[in-house]
Subunit: 100 residues, 2 copies
């Protein structure tokens, strides 16, 4: 999972405030600037982030399709889990009725 690492999540979330150059993203983080670059590379590889050049800086921003895919993944994952649990609940409900 791309968003498993807390630092990477933080990087990701910092982009929510809008497109930003690497410097700005790294500012205040407890890790070095290269570390941030590496996280950005991973995020980009996962399609969650876009990158464009603006003079000497690279501006990173959230990527719409990436978010959509992530959303779908989360949704399907969750609805699966939920369905199963509902079925589970109903079953134990029936069981408890049966016991009476």
């Amino acid at each position: 999972m791309v968003l498993a690492d807390p630092t990477r999540r933080e990087v990701f979330e910092r982009l929510r405030a809008g497109p930003r150059p690497v410097n700005a993203i790294a500012a205040g983080l407890p890790v070095s600037r290269p570390a941030v670059s590496q996280h950005l590379k991973v995020l980009k590889g996962a399609g969650l982030v876009d990158e464009r050049s603006e003079g000497v800086r690279r501006i990173y921003s959230l990527r719409r399709e990436g978010l959509v895919e992530l959303r779908e993944w989360l949704d399907s994952f969750w609805s699966n889990a939920l369905d199963a649990f509902k079925a589970e609940v109903e079953k134990s409900h029936i069981d408890s009725k049966r016991k009476k």
Copy 2:
């Protein structure tokens, strides 16, 4: 993140089909039975799973509150990300208007 590891997710998802002893969960998985025990321990530590004894076997099942918490975490995480992106879209929308 507890659900970062694929094997652990698989273990978790196998419980969607209902409560199961460790043996049944581990059956067919590409890892050893102790490995599964270890994953279950983590899941239990995260409150996602319950465990009860039934004779010599330990029956694991999904834990309602754990699922709720997970759901809330996912929701807040996502709505944050989404809000930010919406703001982003509106902003660039305004920008594009301005350019005309």
